[in-house]
Structures are given as structure tokens and as C-alpha cells.
């Protein structure tokens, strides 16, 4: 009886140890995998945090320029409407447009959109930006990552 109880106790401890290891590993790797379950770009937009759109070079629209960077900040105004302010490069002057639906989509629910220089751009959870389903326009980047990369520029050419 005692031997059986010891065995059961050991099995329980083993199970507990496995559980702790699994939960521990999951907790450590969760930040790396979070973006696959939560659209972090939409989350930033909803939270009013800036996102930066960097067009791919060569550009796919005459309205965009290769070296430009567009910073978008969304907020809800006093009427409960979503407004977006789009800043180009370091230009402090930026216009705000309101009455937006940040969850609107055209061809696929996973591609929401915003407008830059009059061009409707669609973004996905990956941060990839397209103009049409077959035309890639650029990337979304967080200003924090941009600053980090500016501090440690790559010299791969």
C-alpha cells in the first residue's frame, strides 16, 4: 500500500514537473509567437501608438516615393469617431482625417486598410502592406524598432 502510494506520489510529482516546464517554456516563448494570434499592428493602431509605413523600392504607386516614411497615428475624437494623422518623414505639419472605420476591409478580412497620399493601403498581421492583392507596397515598422535600427545601422550592401 505504501509502495503504491509512493508510486502515485512520484507520478504526480513527475506530472507537476512536466507541467511547470511546459508552462515555463510557453511563458518564455509566448512574446515571440504572440503576433501569430493577435494582430499587433491593429492593436497599436487601436491604442493610438504610431506605426510607420516604409514603401518598398522601387515604389508601386506614383503617389509614393522610395525614401519617404509615413508615420500614422490613430485616435478616437470626442464624437467617438476614429481619426488618423499621417506625417511624412519629419514634417511636423500633418493633416487629420476623421470618420474612419479601422476594421473596414475590402477583399479579405485579414487585410484592413488606411490611406496615405490618397492611396488606399492594406495591411495584414505580418505588417506587410499591399495596394492590390498582387501588388506589394511596403512594410509597417514600429518607431521603436526604427530607432533601434538607426542606433545600430546595418552595413550589408
Amino acid at each position: 500500500m505504501t509502495a503504491q502510494a509512493d508510486q502515485a506520489h512520484a507520478n504526480l510529482l513527475k506530472l507537476l514537473a512536466i507541467l511547470i516546464v511546459v508552462v515555463g517554456i510557453a511563458a518564455v516563448i509566448w512574446p515571440l509567437y504572440r503576433k501569430f494570434f493577435v494582430n499587433e499592428w491593429r492593436e497599436r493602431i487601436v491604442d493610438g501608438e504610431p506605426v510607420v509605413f516604409i514603401p518598398d523600392c522601387p515604389v508601386v504607386s506614383a503617389h509614393l516615393r522610395c525614401a519617404d516614411r509615413y508615420t500614422l497615428v490613430f485616435r478616437k475624437n470626442e464624437n467617438g469617431q476614429w481619426c488618423a494623422r499621417v506625417g511624412k518623414n519629419t514634417d511636423p505639419e500633418s493633416s487629420e482625417s476623421c470618420g474612419l472605420d479601422i476594421d473596414a476591409w475590402d477583399f479579405a478580412r485579414s487585410w484592413r486598410y488606411f490611406t496615405v497620399e490618397g492611396v488606399r493601403l492594406y495591411y495584414s498581421w505580418r505588417g506587410r502592406v499591399i495596394i492590390t492583392p498582387n501588388q506589394v507596397a511596403g512594410w509597417l515598422v514600429s518607431p521603436e524598432n526604427l530607432a533601434l535600427r538607426s542606433a545600430h545601422p546595418l552595413s550589408i550592401q
Partner: protein, 532 residues
């Protein structure tokens, strides 16, 4: 085998391996000046470093739809580079390129080491196991890919380790570990999926040897099989999350890749499986191929004889027989897959088969020596086999070191001189339409690269200069040997459906009214400029 002879032969094998790995590491530092220099010699390497640059820029491992291989090799290199960056290292082309290549160098060494250990698991004497490891390590194509930004060699490590784990102990926990490592192989290159059934086979055979077949046993097999598949898929999802969460794109690229390798090189390859002998003979010579296939045939004969003696069920419970049976079945299955489904006949597509073929053939010849010789002669017979493997590897090493010498000449090669000539002759912003495999210094800023030049592209880019290469636009149509481009004498490879279109394009460039004239040409490249 005499202990002293064994130690001497093993030490020789280690020394040869050290020479090869060190030489390959040094060779891996050449030709890394710029992305353009890298891609001038190898498109896959150019693509790899460009992807790495994008990923490092964005602090992300997003392959952006590049699902032609798994992302594991790239991820390992990414984290290695990020590790150096964390300590303030400047990440330039040379460092990033070298780290990518170093992953392959280390993988090559690990693959060889794993094969040596597998040889020991199969009860080969240490010196012979070291010889088999060296036979893989010195295989010329394997040496090339062991210093290349490419996932093939890393995949080989995982395949050997996966099968080795399954064979080491026929228990569920080892089968599970084997399936997880098979998942890593699949995460590196998709052909690694072929190992998964063989992660389960030793466990299943062992159980069948000990227990009567019953519905309970079948149910247990089903549950264990599901667990192994679960481990395999989990590892793939964890190491290739973008493929898992971008499934439609992943599946479409995966299917394209399957079709591409089963067709071969963009043209429809011949179905004749005997054509595989050509790349194998290139790698091992006629004697080597005879050794591999003769040894494999002998291994099959010995296996059938031994199973016949003890019976199937008893054979399943004996470690030695079960191991040989699984290895033979693995080699037969993967060889059949290569023979039937893969028409892209490159030696690297055999990396998941050749190591096991080396082990099996050596095992068979070892067994033959044991059976044919008496005690004293047996020692010398075994020592002779180990020595033969070392002599073979030394011969291979000679070829490998010569091939490395070509790599060290990259910066002074004709391709680089050609590019420097263009940079000296034209302004930095000259509008250039260039085939891939063209080298142009980074100072040339207005270059459009393409795999295939067409009249439409020419009209769109309106270049001032065109560079054609034999590897891209010229793959299907190129000037006849001994002629110059303006002679208009071309050799057309009609296996390429695009060949007539390319020929028309080249003839149009050559016509007097085209407005284009040849400025410089080599066997590999042609430079044309627009007449003023």
C-alpha cells in the same frame, strides 16, 4: 582490431577531417564583399543574404512568402547574427555572409560526427566508423554545400540524428525524440519528412517481435503514431510559424517546389532513374559507386539470410538485425522516391540517402571480412577496410582542396573584372538592365536585375546598357563555342519552352537597326550599349 592500429587510423581520420573543416572555414570567407558579388557566383546565396538583410532591418524572421525551404537554417543564422549584434558588433555583408556559411560548415562537421556515431551504434569498429564519417565529409558536393548559405547540410544532420535516435533504443520516448528531430529536418528542407515513418518503425518492429498482433497493440500503435505526428507537426509549427499561419501561400509554394524538383531545372527532365548514376559517379567515382551499391546489395543478401535463420519475429527483437532491416528499408524507400519522383538530379538531393548507403555498404563489407577470415587475418582485414576508407577520403580531399582554390580566386575572376570594367566605363547612375549572375560594384546604383530579358522588359526599363549572361537569359540560347556574339551563331536548347522567344530577342539586339552594339564579351557574359 589491434588497439594501436585502430588508434592510429582513427587519429588519421580526425586529422583529415580537421584539415577539411578548417580549409572549408577559410574558403567560406572569400567572395563576401557585397551582395552583388555573392549573387554573381551563386543566386541562392544572394537571395539568402538579401533575406537576412531584410529580416535584420525589421527585427523579424518573416520569410515574406519564401517557403521554398523551411526557415530553420535561416532562423539559426539570424539568431547567431543577432547575438553578435547584441554585443555591439557591426553587421556588414562579410560578417552576415560568413555566419550563414559557418552554420553550414558546422552542420557538415556535425553530420559527419553523427554518421560516425551511427556507425558505432551499428557496431562498426571505431576506425571504420570514422572512415565512413570521413567518406561523407569529403564527398565533393557535400563539401561545397558545407560552405554555402544553403539548408541542405543542416537537414542532413537532422536526418541522421533522427534515424539514429530511433535506432538507438526502440522505446516510445526515443521514437518521440526521433520524430521531433525529423520535424527539425522537415523545418529545414521538406524532404526531411521522409524520415518520420522510420522514427516509428524500430519501435513498432520491436513490439511486433515481443507481442502477438492484437487489436490492443494496433490501438497502441495508432496512439503512438499520432503522438509522433503531433511532435513532428509541433516542431514544424514552432520553427516555421509563418508557414503555419500563412497556410494557403505555404501550400501553394510547397506544391510548386514538389513539381519543380520532380520536373527538373525548369525543363522536363527524363524519367530514366539510371541517370542518377551520373551525379553519384561524379561524387564517388566508379569504384566508389560500385562499393556503395555492391555493398548495399551484399547488405540485403546478408539481412535476408540472417532473418531466414532466426525468423521474422526473432529478428525484430534483435537490435543488430532490426537496425539493419530499418536502414535497408529506409534506403530502399528514399532511393525509390529519388528514382521515381525527383528529376532534378543534383547530388545534394541524395544527402538524406548517401550517409546510410555508406553505413550499410561498409557494414556488409565488414561482415564479409569477419566471415571470410580467421582471428589474426581478421584484424588485418578490418584494418585494411579502415585504411581503404581513409585512402579514398584522402583522394577526395585532394579534389576538395583544389575546388576550394577556385573559391579563393573569386575576387580576381573574369566575372568581377567584367563588372569593374562596366563601372569604370559608365557613370554610377547609368541605367543598366542586367541578367542575374552579373557582378556590378555597389557604386552602380541604377541596375535592374532579371532572370530573363524580354522585349517588354527592355521597353519598360529603357536601359543604356544591357548585360546578358549564360546562366540567365542565355540558359536556353547562347553563342556557339568559338564564335563571338555578333556572329549570330547560337546554340539553342529546345528543352526550354522559352528558347524561341529568347533567340528572337537576341537576334533583334544583333540586327543593324536595333541601335545596340557589343562592347565587351566573355564566354559567360555579353555587354551591349545603346548607340548614341
Amino acid at each position: 582490431m589491434n588497439q594501436c592500429v585502430q588508434v592510429t587510423l582513427t587519429t588519421c581520420a580526425l586529422l583529415l577531417a580537421t584539415v577539411l573543416v578548417l580549409a572549408n572555414t577559410v574558403a567560406a570567407t572569400f567572395g563576401l564583399d557585397s551582395i552583388r558579388m555573392i549573387q554573381a557566383f551563386n543566386l541562392d546565396e544572394g537571395l539568402s543574404i538579401t533575406r537576412m538583410k531584410d529580416n535584420l532591418e525589421q527585427f523579424s524572421l518573416d520569410p515574406d512568402g519564401f517557403f521554398y525551404y523551411g526557415n530553420l537554417y535561416h532562423s539559426i543564422a539570424y539568431y547567431c547574427i543577432a547575438f553578435f549584434e547584441h554585443f555591439g558588433w557591426t553587421i556588414n555583408t562579410s560578417l552576415a555572409g560568413f555566419v550563414l556559411r559557418l552554420v553550414s560548415v558546422v552542420s557538415g562537421f556535425l553530420a559527419s560526427l553523427s554518421l560516425g556515431i551511427l556507425g558505432k551504434i551499428c557496431k562498426l569498429p571505431t576506425a571504420i566508423a570514422a572512415g565512413t564519417a570521413l567518406a561523407l565529409l569529403t564527398m565533393p558536393d557535400f563539401v561545397v554545400f558545407s560552405r554555402m548559405m544553403h539548408p541542405d547540410v543542416l537537414q542532413t544532420v537532422f536526418v541522421i540524428v533522427s534515424l539514429g535516435l530511433a535506432l538507438l533504443r526502440p522505446t516510445f520516448s526515443f521514437a518521440l525524440m526521433s520524430a521531433a528531430v525529423a520535424g527539425l529536418a522537415f523545418s529545414t528542407k521538406y524532404i526531411g519528412a521522409l524520415v518520420l515513418p522510420f522514427s516509428f518503425l524500430p519501435l513498432a518492429l520491436s513490439a511486433l517481435g515481443r507481442e502477438q498482433l492484437s487489436s490492443r497493440l494496433v490501438l497502441r500503435f495508432c496512439l503512438q503514431g499520432l503522438a509522433l505526428i503531433g511532435a513532428f507537426i509541433s516542431v514544424f509549427v514552432l520553427t516555421n510559424p509563418y508557414a503555419a499561419f500563412d497556410r494557403s501561400r505555404f501550400i501553394s509554394v510547397f506544391m510548386w517546389q514538389l513539381k519543380y524538383s520532380s520536373n527538373g531545372y525548369g525543363v522536363v527532365g527524363q524519367a530514366n532513374p539510371a541517370l542518377w548514376l551520373e551525379p553519384l559517379t561524379d561524387q564517388f567515382g566508379t569504384a566508389g559507386v560500385l562499393y556503395l551499391f555492391g555493398g548495399f546489395f551484399l547488405a540485403c543478401v546478408f539481412l535476408l539470410r540472417d532473418i531466414g535463420r532466426v525468423g521474422w519475429r526473432a529478428a525484430f527483437t534483435k537490435d543488430d538485425l532490426r537496425t539493419r532491416l530499418v536502414l535497408v528499408l529506409y534506403v530502399l524507400t528514399t532511393s525509390a522516391h529519388l528514382a521515381i519522383s525527383i528529376h532534378q538530379r543534383e547530388a545534394r538531393f541524395t544527402y538524406h540517402v548517401v550517409p546510410f548507403l555508406i553505413i550499410l555498404s561498409t557494414l556488409a563489407i565488414f561482415e564479409l571480412i569477419i566471415e571470410l577470415t580467421k582471428q589474426v587475418a581478421r584484424w588485418w582485414g578490418i584494418a585494411a577496410l579502415a585504411a581503404v576508407l581513409l585512402v579514398f577520403a584522402s583522394t577526395q580531399l585532394k579534389f576538395d582542396l583544389r575546388a576550394m582554390a577556385d573559391v579563393t580566386a573569386k575576387p580576381e575572376s573574369e566575372v568581377i573584372k567584367f563588372g569593374n570594367f562596366v563601372a569604370q566605363r559608365y557613370p554610377a547612375d547609368a541605367n543598366i538592365l542586367a541578367d542575374v549572375y552579373t557582378y556590378l560594384p555597389p557604386s552602380m546604383t541604377n541596375v535592374t536585375y532579371t532572370n530573363l530579358q524580354t522585349e517588354e522588359l527592355l521597353a519598360k526599363v529603357t536601359p543604356q546598357v544591357i548585360i546578358l549572361t549564360r546562366g540567365a537569359t542565355g540558359a536556353s540560347v547562347w553563342k556557339k563555342s568559338g564564335t563571338v556574339f555578333s556572329d549570330g551563331k547560337f546554340v539553342t536548347d529546345l528543352r526550354y519552352p522559352i528558347a524561341p522567344q529568347v533567340e528572337a530577342y537576341l537576334n533583334k539586339l544583333l540586327s543593324p537597326s536595333s541601335g545596340w552594339s557589343v562592347v565587351r564579351e566573355s564566354d559567360f557574359e555579353v555587354l551591349l550599349q545603346r548607340d548614341k
